[in-house]
């Protein structure tokens, strides 16, 4: 049943108890995202080291279960990844959530894949895709030092 696919245990768990929900100390990049349609908001904080690795990542924000879970899972996965890996992972996730049945990335272990794939049910809810992608687009902005607030309504 569709709804059960959408609101899987992993999502409900991350939605209710989001990981990394705080403002990182010593962050050196950040960006804000907003979905005007539903009012979801997210603020992503990064600490990128000299070797281009993410040594810390966190977020603040409020929103529905999907957007909170997505931000929570994302921040969990991104830790210790380098910029190139992060960018690949973002585009892999966005492709998966919109078009592909599977993730292509070789950089994820099975457990990580399962977590990410838990968000794939969103595909059948076009209006909710924006909830799932908000944090990811915002992360891109942070990495690119973009000053504009990310608007997921415009991007998907």
């Amino acid at each position: 049943m569709n709804l059960k696919e959408l609101y899987q245990e992993i999502i409900l768990d991350h939605g209710k108890n989001p990981r990394n929900l705080k403002k990182s100390e010593n962050f050196n990049k950040d960006a804000k995202g907003h979905n005007p349609l539903c009012g979801d908001k997210v603020h992503v904080f990064l600490k990128i080291d000299e070797d281009k690795k993410i040594s810390d990542i966190s977020f603040e924000g409020s929103g529905c279960a999907i957007s909170m879970a997505s931000a929570s899972i994302m921040t969990d996965l991104m830790k210790e990844k380098n910029e190139k890996e992060v960018k690949e992972l973002i585009s892999d996730f966005l492709d998966m959530i919109k078009h592909n049945p599977e993730l292509k990335s070789k950089n994820l272990d099975d457990n990580e894949k399962t977590k990410l794939m838990s968000l794939s049910g969103v595909k059948q809810y076009p209006m909710r895709v924006k909830c799932a992608t908000l944090a990811w687009h915002t992360l891109t902005s942070a990495i690119n030092n973009s000053q504009n607030e990310t608007n997921s309504e415009k991007l998907d």
Binding site: N2, L3, K4, L6, Y7, E9, L12, K16, L37, C38, G39, D40, K41, S62, G63, C64, A65, I66, Y125, M127, R128, C131
Partner: protein
């Protein structure tokens, strides 16, 4: 009133939506359309179409007469004094922009104040905000009480000698509070302040008598009133329509034009520049006839019974928190569920064919005040039934099931 028959007059309910019967609880957003209204549009375009007021051929004359007939129907429906007090706009939002812009141009200067309430829809705030930037006026907000109501006193408290306009909603699209607009108008007029009422949620649900209420402006959204999209109405007292400058400029609203200047046409043309929404105006005449046939008193009774039933049912459901608790409440049931975001609620309800809205409903100031980023809202129309409320409640229980995993 045979409410079953009324639902049958709306063709959308005889179609399945995603294999479900449609439980439409989003009428505060936009109402469904009765068959007679849709048929009128169809017939007009297929048998009678012409632009109004310009050509002298048969179809044009007939269309012009039909167009003006709606004006008169509306005048009578809201008991305005004169048909020329009815101006057709593209929506309530345009109606309010029209007043704010022209009133601002002519009568406002730096330091003047506009008094709104914390219940206002963005459409009754942003147009006034523009005057803050262009004219340096101030905006004040009458505050809601803990029940989500606006009392006469909360208005009175904010009035001072700089207050130049009071612009308030008739019926809150979030808490459902019905404002004492007649009393507010009397108070305002005693201090020589004109009153604009945002009637978007009032007009579809409440008996209207402009001469009794006495307000200066009343803005209506026809698509919420069983009419077509792309149409609104501004009721304005004739003295204002005569005193204020025109709003948009174009064909149809002028008297004489030359290279040096222009004289403007008389009412109602002065405020209807360009080709108007001809088909929509003509079809809206059928919406009014539809409402007249049922009788607004019957609608009020039916909807107030349903609203009470809805409040009861939802109150009995432990995890539901109703937003606002006004004594005088229109057909809006906004609520939250502990631990479940309104957007998740809306998605889960939708799966059962229960259509509600989630978000801030264009009332961000109110949501900030209530400390809620978003609410879920079920809103009622003439076609709704107790069964619809029961289905709403069942689906709410499903949300709880899913989230209690």
């Amino acid at each position: 009133m045979m409410i079953e028959n009324i639902k049958k007059q709306f063709p959308i309910f005889s179609n399945k939506v995603q294999n479900n019967d449609l439980v439409y609880l989003d009428s505060a957003n936009s109402s469904q359309k009765p068959q007679v209204v849709v048929d009128r549009i169809y017939d007009f375009y297929t048998k009678e179409f012409s632009n109004v007021g310009r050509s002298v051929h048969y179809l044009a004359v007939a269309a012009t007469n039909l167009y003006e007939e709606t004006r008169t129907l509306m005048q009578k429906y809201i008991n305005a004094k004169d048909p020329n007090e009815i101006v057709f706009t593209k929506g309530a939002t345009e109606a309010i922009n029209l007043v704010a812009n022209t009133f601002g141009q002519k009568f406002l200067k730096e330091g003047d104040e506009i008094l709104l309430t914390e219940l206002e829809h963005h459409s009754n705030y942003v147009p006034w905000h523009y005057l803050r930037r262009s004219k340096g006026i101030q905006i004040k907000f009458a505050e809601i009480n803990s029940d989500g109501e606006i009392s006469l006193e909360s208005i009175e408290r904010q009035i001072n000698r700089n207050t130049k306009m009071i612009a308030i909603t008739h019926l809150s699209n979030v808490t459902g509070a019905i404002l004492p607009i007649k009393e507010i108008t009397q108070l305002a007029h005693s201090k020589n302040i004109p009153v604009l009422v945002d009637g978007c949620q009032g007009a579809p649900h409440l008996k209207l008598d402009m001469q009794d209420i006495g307000c200066d402006f009343y803005a209506i959204s026809c698509h919420k009133m069983y009419g077509p999209t792309g149409l609104g109405i501004l009721y304005a007292k004739k003295k204002w329509l005569e005193a204020l400058p025109p709003y948009q400029g174009g064909g149809g609203m002028i008297k004489e034009v030359n290279k040096e200047g222009i004289t403007f046409g008389d009412l109602p043309n002065k405020y209807e520049a360009g080709t108007m929404a001809t088909a929509q105006v003509i079809a809206f005449g059928e919406s009014i006839k539809f409402l007249n046939k049922i009788g607004i008193e019957n609608i009020e009774n039916h909807e107030s019974e349903l609203t009470k039933y809805g409040e009861e049912v939802l109150r009995r459901n432990n995890s539901v928190k109703l937003v606002g608790n006004p004594k005088n409440k229109g057909s809006v049931l906004s609520f939250t569920l502990d631990g479940i975001h309104p957007h998740d609620i809306a998605t889960i309800l939708d799966e059962d064919g229960v259509a509600i809205r989630a978000g801030h409903h264009c009332c961000q100031i109110l949501h900030d005040k209530l400390g809620l980023p978003a609410t879920a809202r079920a809103s009622l129309g003439v076609y709704n039934t107790k069964e619809d409320i029961d289905k709403l409640n069942e689906s709410i229980n499903k949300c709880k099931d899913i989230f209690s995993k």
